[in-house]
Symmetry: C2
Subunit: 536 residues, 2 copies
């Protein structure tokens, strides 16, 4: 009934193998307020490689120098998966995508254009004939650069299927190796989507010779089911994102489609190459770097996905696990929290533990991580794998350029207004102090930081969660703010919620200003600036 | 393509109408750490009635005096929907269910027993023949008390379908009015579940004369799709929960299935009676009372469900809304945040605003809410509908019995250990002080509270979120702790995060001790105590 977490053997028949195309770094990163830097994107891509995904859509290189740089770095440094860059059908987009991905041993260009009349008329403001011409030229250009080219007719599920089929036939004719059918607005249903694939195969039999792909959004809660319906109808690539992040309600959740395919192999005989034991860790990393929490009742990776509350269910699981469990928590890596260090653990023990967790940390970064580790080990009895992940992630959030927290003092009481004094180091290296009262101690700190930085910003979101259970747990604060007309987020980790808040705020401020500086550079590429980060 | 939020006319053909059976208060409440009191359950049930659900499964009366009381209160006070109580096939269960729901003008008893061999063998440790006998006796008994009786063959999707069909036929024969086919462990797929219904109809044609129902769990991310497949195959009742909460990965999400049925009426011609503009508020209320956050990319009610980040998408929506939106945010009530009060608003304005929000608050509760409102209006420029919801919810959290926060003083700094002094009032009415240092100011407060209350507890979860955007937003803290061998949660709302934390902690402590006291009472009903809150 389940292969219990084992990846398929390499001998698996290609026809039974579903490729996992991860778009966490492209469509996922299009969620409001996510501002990953290049280092974080490379780190996530390395984790995706450990997870065993087949394709990483690393970004959309034309849209900004930052995106271009991140895609290039991933292409240079991440081994295993195909590295894919997104491009509209414009010549400059495809050149930029190739320029960024060409460093990978397995590059792919993914180009797209809408085939729905609603998009053609209102957004592209062009004609069906022009769309056909653009698709032909783009795939031909991409193929002249790269052997592996994916084509997407955007908004296909709301488009005339005969016209979409014509455009797909053109793409295959020009050498596309993968054809993806996006449900861009999350509108289709499993029954309708399956029918769409069946009709496409009838209209364009040559589609059987390329890889068909699904890309589904979750606006009506059907992204996983629609992806699965597409696979049952013949698609052999699923575009998905970790924790299901992405535009609006997000994309098909990677962990859900992977575990669905694995757990119900009995009915369809298909599987992916994913190492499912890496799912929980990948989910935590993406949640932490993006500041997007996973709700407790999220399938596969939510805190309660394997928890049994009711007496009857607990009773049943104790008598026989399978009475209420169709998967084992160890299959998705929820048992990985076994590494424990203490205040007497040394630098080698820390590096070994980090290596076990998949973090390659050396030199200055190791020294920095070790110093934070010692500070925290002084306060906490045990430092677990989850704590180590949080500490390392926190260190990755340090910016060489930007603001840093120096120190703070706060007095708070239910009987008078709270008061804060804060010092930060400015990008110039000098220290600046601010002082304020506020509605609460966090507000007082935030206002004091604004005064110290001599800047105005608007707080948009503020969340705190505990990294592990227990009284001495590390607190992880995520701040999202608007500064310099840009949304940016920052995280901070500490056993002290006020310190974590101050760190997170200072980092969000740095991210916002770094983003603003980058955008200034971008305004040179005028076309890209007008349509920042699009996609199917 | 969409009926844009309008509920169907009362003239809608019954065959085209899908009943919404809400189990937030039964299966939803079985999520770890949720501890709703009777007042909160009644408030949620009243909101569900405003939302226009057809059936409210209010609880499982045999399992505890608290559950019995809550179901009775809902049956007495909530008008409109059918009020349903859950019962195993045991005689005492059915008597207890009837005892609690009989005050409703539209009572329903829901009884269940497993039909899968894995449950029959390992958990019930009985025989198929015995299961048939129990089902027959239970439905007959329930029908002797109540005209409306629902029967569920638990774990049906993993059971032998011929045997399940036999048991369903018995239930119909004894007068069951609704037959529900639970996917208890979230194992089935849309294709398989649809086939299950088709075969059931073949085996038991008389099922066409009763209402068939779906009850799906989300372990593989398919709860909504499976429910929809069941409806397309003939079911006309969907069991679901607000925000998709429930055992493990939870139940089918109410808001997703409702908006799927409404938005894609073009393909199936079905609809529900739900007033979709109440969805957002219902989601917020359930999230707040349960302490279960909704992730930003959750379909329909997540913060980003209607947000457009990419340039191409924003550009498209500005040119023509439908290029990237299949629903309008106003359809689900996301435009409701228009009520704004200020520090000069009076008691009448507050009561009117609360009435508009659906809260009936009078007398002492209004005075208390008004006092909190004035305190907050002194600190915040504007008090919005979202703030009012939070304040009223916070007031509902006050316990007459239990601990209350009197005052606190905290000093925190990055340069020395934080220190807290806290005073609480004990259940006896006397004030008690505690003093402590900690790893952070929140930890110091929590330890000081434990000292003041002279009790030990273990912190399990700690989260903070902002009620609205902006610097002066209210912070809402949720604490989950284990005390007296029981998980309990508490919420606190304030512009001061330390105050909100202290309030939340003190309330969680009160809830844990109240629960412990109640459980002592429960140990009288020995059988119920051994299997606390089960269900399909």
């Amino acid at each position: 009934m389940s292969t219990h977490g084992k990846a398929p053997t390499s001998g698996r028949n290609r026809a039974d193998r579903v490729d996992i195309f991860d778009t966490t770094l492209r469509d996922g990163e299009q969620s409001p307020g996510i501002s990953l830097n290049t280092q974080e994107k490379v780190e996530i891509a390395q984790q995706l490689a450990r997870l065993g995904v087949d394709v990483i859509e690393a970004g959309f290189p034309i849209t900004s120098p930052g995106d271009f740089e991140a895609v290039s770095e991933i292409a240079r440094n991440v081994e295993g998966p195909v590295i894919c860059g997104l491009a509209r059908t414009h010549k400059a987009d495809i050149d930029a995508a190739w320029g960024a991905i060409k460093y990978s041993p397995r590059p792919r260009i993914h180009t797209f254009i809408s085939t729905s009349d609603i998009h053609i008329t209102h957004q592209l403001q062009t004609t069906r004939d022009d769309v056909k011409g653009q698709a032909r030229a783009a795939v031909a250009q991409a193929r002249s650069l790269c052997d592996d080219v994916e084509f997407s007719p955007m908004d296909a599920t709301r488009a005339d299927i005969e016209f979409t089929a014509e455009v797909c036939a053109i793409a295959v004719d020009e050498g596309a190796t993968v054809v993806n059918i996006p449900d861009t607005v999350g509108y289709t249903t499993p029954q309708e989507y399956a029918g769409y694939f069946e009709r496409l195969y009838e209209l364009v039999p040559v589609l059987r010779e390329v890889r068909l792909s699904v890309h589904c959004h979750d606006d009506l809660g059907l992204a996983v089911a629609n992806s699965y319906a597409g696979v049952l109808a013949g698609a052999r690539q699923v575009e998905c994102a970790v924790n299901g992040i992405g535009e609006r309600a997000g994309n098909c959740s990677l962990e859900e489609i992977v575990m669905l395919l694995r757990t119900r192999g009995d009915v369809h005989g298909l599987d992916t190459g994913v190492e499912s034991r890496e799912l929980a860790r990948t989910s935590r990393m993406v949640s932490r770097f993006t500041g997007y929490a996973v709700q407790p009742n999220k399938a596969i990776v939510g805190r309660n996905a394997f928890a049994h509350e009711s007496g009857i269910h607990q009773d049943g699981v104790l008598k026989e696990r399978t009475t209420y469990e169709i998967m084992d928590a160890t299959e998705v890596g929820l048992d990985s929290n076994q590494i424990v260090l203490g205040k007497h653990s040394g630098r080698h023990a820390l590096r070994d533990a980090l290596n076990d967790l998949g973090f390659r940390v050396d030199g200055a970064a190791l020294n920095q991580a070790f110093q934070r580790f010692k500070e925290i080990a002084d306060k906490k009895k045990q430092v677990t794998a989850l704590d180590l992940e949080a500490i390392v992630s926190d260190e990755f959030r340090e910016r060489a350029q930007g603001y840093n927290l120096a120190w703070f003092d706060v007095e708070a009481s239910s009987r008078r207004a709270p008061h804060a004094r804060v010092a930060i180091t400015l990008p110039s290296g000098e220290e600046s102090e601010g002082e304020a009262t506020g509605d609460g101690p966090v507000d007082a700190i935030f206002v004091a930081i604004q005064k110290a930085a001599n800047t105005d910003c608007e707080l948009r979101q503020y969340t705190v969660s505990a990294v592990t259970e227990g009284e001495d747990a590390l607190g992880e604060v995520t701040v999202m703010l608007r500064a310099a007309d840009r949304l940016a987020s920052g995280q901070g980790v500490s056993t002290d919620i006020l310190e974590a808040s101050a760190r997170a705020y200072v980092r969000a401020l740095s991210n916002a200003l770094e983003g603003a500086a980058m955008r200034e550079a971008e305004s040179i590429t005028a076309e890209a600036a007008s349509e920042r980060t699009p996609g199917p």
